[in-house]
Symmetry: C2
Subunit: 107 residues, 2 copies
DNA sequence: CGTACAGTTGGATTGTTGTCAAACCATTGG
DNA sequence: CCAATGGTTTGACAACAATCCAACTGTACG
């Protein structure tokens, strides 16, 4: 099991996170990760409507911005949201974005 | 007093807002508006380190994304954050961004 | 070992963006 | 009316980004 290179929590930049989340395809990937938790690239990128190399490009953007964590297990790569890191650095940001994407439960 | 064209609240898109906020210059403008409230373009763009035409370009991005409201009074244009609209559409988003930019008061 | 699978990389293309400079437009004050 | 002020537009340019396709790399399974 190997971890790919990621930015340290302190080095996650707000503008880069916002930039990473500002693409519809990436936002969809993030939403899936939020709902289903850790998943492989293939699953995360299923039916996105883009070529798999394009999806791969988006995985890297998300990883380099500090939004997702990627670890390799065998020939699979698992992605997951860096919820805790993001929340420590930008409290409430991810929740509000996910709330808007997934729909907020209203009392 | 004239209002410039703006997107209606329902038409404000999350990805466009995130995109608008993902530029350091625009984020600085938004932070100033958050702190000082309504202000003219000249004041908002003072000492940003970019040419005034570049600043003007950013004002438009922010307006077209639905982040700011611009009204013309005489030869001045006043910008203000669309706090209520944004909060209705994407609850908590603007607050979390501003909190991260301006620093959150911790108890 | 070789084939299939999971994902990345490189190249090409097309479109977008941030920037400056210079010219422009609109409003107001003399 | 003319000049100054406040912003915008246009043109040019370099950098970046999203996309596809094809070729590639690495891992495991038969």
């Amino acid at each position: 099991m190997r971890l790919l290179p990621h930015p340290a929590t302190e080095n996650i930049e707000l503008t880069e996170v916002l930039r990473a989340l500002s693409d519809p395809v990436r936002l969809e990937i993030v939403a899936r990760l939020a709902v289903a938790g850790e998943m492989t690239c293939t699953v995360a990128g299923d039916d996105l409507g883009v070529h798999k190399s394009t999806a791969s490009h988006h995985y890297r953007m998300l990883r380099e911005a500090g939004v997702v964590l990627t670890k390799q297990v065998g020939r699979l790569k698992y992605m997951s949201l860096r919820r805790d890191d993001l929340d420590r650095r930008f409290p409430g940001l991810l929740d509000s974005v996910l709330g808007s994407v997934l729909g907020v439960p209203r009392p």
